[in-house]
Amino acid sequence: MRRGIAFLAVTVALAASGCSGSAEPADSDSGTITWWDTSDATTEAPTYQALVAQFQAQHPKIKVNYVNVPFSDAEQKFKTAAQGGNGAPDVMRSDVGWTPAFAAQGYLLPLDGTPAVDQIGDFLAGPAGTAKYDGKMYGAPQVTDTLGLLYNKALFAKAGITAAPKTWPELKTASQALKAKAGVDGVYLNPDSYFLLPFLYGEGANLVDVANKKITINSPEAVKGVQTAQDLVASGAAAKPAYTDGYANMQAAFKDGKVGMIINGPWSASDIFAGKAFQDKANLGIAPVPAGSTGQAGSPVGGHNLVVYAGTKHAGAAEQFVQFMTSAASESTTAAKLGTLPARTSAYTSEVTANQVIASFQQAMAIAQPRLALPQASDLLGPLSQDYVKILQGEQAQAGLDNSAKEFAKLLPGWSAP
């Protein structure tokens, strides 16, 4: 019975949003919508909250219930709520890797033809591709990003390093110089498989080969890439990473000037500038990730989409909110304040491109590789992290990746492994 009522309410809401799409959208949609934001609660959230307040001022009939959910828990929390049909937000800030998986499970509303993605051609092609599943748009790209090599210029000067390393061997030499002359750890590698991807891409390797339905994580190229990372830690060139709280410890060490280089994305800039080593923002150097033995460098395209939950009772209001939050004005505001990269062409105003972090990461974006066109893509990273940690702790790279390949095979039935 309750389900019947809920269904009726959804139908009514949908009908209402259908009508509203045509003439005057702002007036016919109202209600309270919940937004799960996954941005950093202390450094990024205030900017988004200010935008929410602006939206509410423009749309007095819509109330937005802002909830900050830690990024690391958000995927599972959303899945639990969405599947149970209870407690899921109307709008969610979804990582680009999660979006196709959510869509494949039926958790999201397609947004084609709604106000949410009314200027669809303005989105950058890369981010827009991550929001598509089965030919439909399931998200509005909010920010895009990739990984880059971040370094502490003062420590580089102390160690006599004049340019950012361009290959992994150069990075190793620089790390040893930092340790010998500046007395700090050279580089801190976050022991997480997402941060392993540049090592794989540098050897021309990838997790799987989607076109041929083949699992390639234990290919000789992938093993070589992982061995590069393993060697950095084993040789002492990289700091011994913490396997619990790895990301937090990496940030803490870099912010305090205790490590010379890290690999991280533009989202971390606002956090880094809060650190004592970066009181002077000019001390932060940003370069593309180093290249592997193929001479090619590559980093994963990341970012976030705003998605609308399929079970929302206020689809119309949710779509307007998404439209507002991903408008060129909102994206350039957040870019200017936080140093994140907008996902729209028109948001790259002269003010935005003057930002040092954004300008540097735009160069890093040039070598960014699109994520796998596969709903399970983000699920593959979990088991790979398990084995990556064991490899960094001293397990044979080949044995570890063979195990990952076995786990991948469970997630991709019918695919072939080498």
Binding site: R3, F7, V10, L14, S72, Q76, K79, T80, A82, Q83, G85, A104, Q105, G106, Y107, L109, P191, D192, S193, K240, P241, A242, Y243, T244, D245, G246, N249, A252, A253, K258, Y309, A310, G311, T312, A315, Q376, D379, G382, P383, S385, Q386, D387, Y388, V389, K390, Q393, L411
Partner: protein
Amino acid sequence: MTLLRRVLDRHWYAWAMVAPVVLVLALLVLYPLARGLWFSLTDANESNIGRTIGPNHIPSTYQFVGLDNYWHVLSGAEGHFYPVLAWTVVWTLICVALHYGIGLALALLLNQRARFRTGYRIMLILPWAVPPFVSVFAWRLLLNGQAGIVNKALGGLGLPAVAWLSDPTWQKVSVIGVNTWIGVPFMMVALLGGLQSIPAELYEAAEMDGASAWHRFRFVTVPSLRPISNTVILLGCIWTFNQFAIIFLLVGQAAGASSQILVTYAYQLAFSGVRDYSGSATYGALILSLLLVFAVVYRRRLGSPARENPT
């Protein structure tokens, strides 16, 4: 039939009184249990379980597979069950031994007449009064490899830093240490209660017979504590076996956690990647049956003979 009616007639009031409790139990315990057992006999996972989300209706397509899941796990083909079980048993034994040993020692100390006895008692109960997740997060900060105060203190003494939460062996030491810290107060309080219920005459009589302090402990305290010891050890084993919070919050979410016990591993199956509900339910059912067997055997071995003993 008539018997049933007679029972209902005579005790209708009692039945009416227990009905709400039975209903709540059925809803909160029996229904999830039955559903879990059913899932363990199917191949249910996140993508084939039916759901209706707004306009999207996805029908259930999971199938009954009989005992396949159990065979897969118990035959070792799944590859994780036996290593995880072995560590779970080691973890339970070490933790309960430490809980009981330290708890008994502290209870004996607190049972002495001493100044500030109440103050000591309050201080020793504190770890138990703090919600476990708060203590665990505090410990996680204390044990942090770079910034944790424990490693700072070691550094101050000129000792090398220890990878408390990273190294597979130290992870195990850390979780056992934290669990001991959290679990001792309960044992202490329970055993202190037991100690205080032992009549003083027994000790006086033993002293009259010339028993030494060790003999009084061995032949008066230990046998008198037996009923309460049995109960708290049984409870301790079950709680520790299922101690989810400490391992999960301290190291369990990290990749490469080799200190997963059965319950945290079952959780990982159900709530990471493509959620494997049937695999997780199978683990749940196996954990339940292990504990049931353990509890029955334990009660048989220790509980009944003591009670039947006509001393």
